[in-house]
Symmetry: C2
Subunit: 235 residues, 2 copies
Amino acid sequence: MRLAELSERSGVSTATIKYYLREGLLQPDHRVTATQAEYGEEHLRRLRLVRALIRIGKVPVAVAREAIAAADDPSLSHHLRLGAATRALPREPEPAEDDAATRAARGSVDALMEQLGWHGMHDEPSPALGTHVTSVAALVRLGYPCDTAHLLPYGRIAADLAVAELDPMEEQSTAAGQVEAAVVLTVPYEPVLLSLRRPAHLQESARRFGIHRPLSDGVPSGPVLSVMARARLYG
Amino acid sequence: MRLAELSERSGVSTATIKYYLREGLLQPDHRVTATQAEYGEEHLRRLRLVRALIRIGKVPVAVAREAIAAADDPSLSHHLRLGAATRALPREPEPAEDDAATRAARGSVDALMEQLGWHGMHDEPSPALGTHVTSVAALVRLGYPCDTAHLLPYGRIAADLAVAELDPMEEQSTAAGQVEAAVVLTVPYEPVLLSLRRPAHLQESARRFGIHRPLSDGVPSGPVLSVMARARLYG
DNA sequence: CGCTGTTGGATACTGCCACTATCCATACTT
DNA sequence: AAGTATGGATAGTGGCAGTATCCAACAGCG
């Protein structure tokens, strides 16, 4: 397969493919025939993964490169590749500054881990948990208090999510397939969940307040979402 | 409160505040005293909301403006303001093109709605559901099949999430508070959930495979995440 | 063999976006 | 009166994901 065909089959312009090659997102070891190159199915798969990360997952090119490089690193065992690839994936910067908001957030999150019974999260500085602290701290800093009580439902739901999501990763039979599944599940599936959340809000609102409930004007004391509001809210 | 104080209390530079005023993200009706202006607490609250949307929620300025404008529109009842504000919030473009991937995605999502027992989603074109179709179609197009079976766990979890999230919105006593809560819950809380997902993966992996399970090299047939992999994966 | 058209590679440019910097005349403060 | 802050306007910055252009070296064809 030549560049033009790879472009056509992937829907990515040749210029962009060249850009990805330059940036090290695609294996550049395409068998060169003098000054020509040949691409295989694995290039197509890789290109799809890169596009999923960048376009769907909104991952910066540099981060995608790190993840891809880790997934490719032949010096790592399969297990290590899997972990390194996922670990490179996007995260907020670590909560470096030690301001009041960060401390408050860390306190809430620590208590949350306790209440969820998640152990082993404090053994070493955890980038994943650090990202969470950063998110919570940002909200706190803006005056939206995120205490453990607010966080707890999210924690329980994240746990359910993890149960559901580890299955498809395990189902992959090949090493490359597992690494790819881990990466795809970690990032490009995020919009799938988030875009289901709003219809779910609508549905739950209907369940609580009933479709046929009459409108009341002024400041509501009871249902927040009226029929009309729901209609406007979610179309 | 003058510009400098608003800047100091919000942590936003005066230049950026001016920019937001220009862009219509802040009420420009600040009581002008000749050529001076006075800002009140509501400007500070608004500024925090804007920052939460833009910095945490990664919402484009233009979209934030729409949501804010709807939340402010005095010609709308409280209910309508609430809905309009939330509705304006970020979404993928509607699935305009009618290609194979989009049709497949729509089919999967329709079946999903059926299986979840979510009704009333087809009465009118729903932006919220359209966004979801777009997300799924993008994955399908890249060769990651998202059939109803894959989607179902996400749907159930989104439903749980909605149950947990409608409570805090209802708890708000003032109209403005409810509108703000709706907006904040819809977007700036997204990172809170997403950043809890990875620690949850780690935790679930530990639960399944045990912390002390020995490493095996080569392609694993059983547990995907070994101890080392987990350590690398989540730090 | 020579011709046409494509290839990979290098370099420079574009467009978008969220700010940011600079000026300025005015008006408030002391 | 002197010094400073303000709002408004305009233009510039920096980052990032691509895109456009050129080029010499081929490959396939008659």
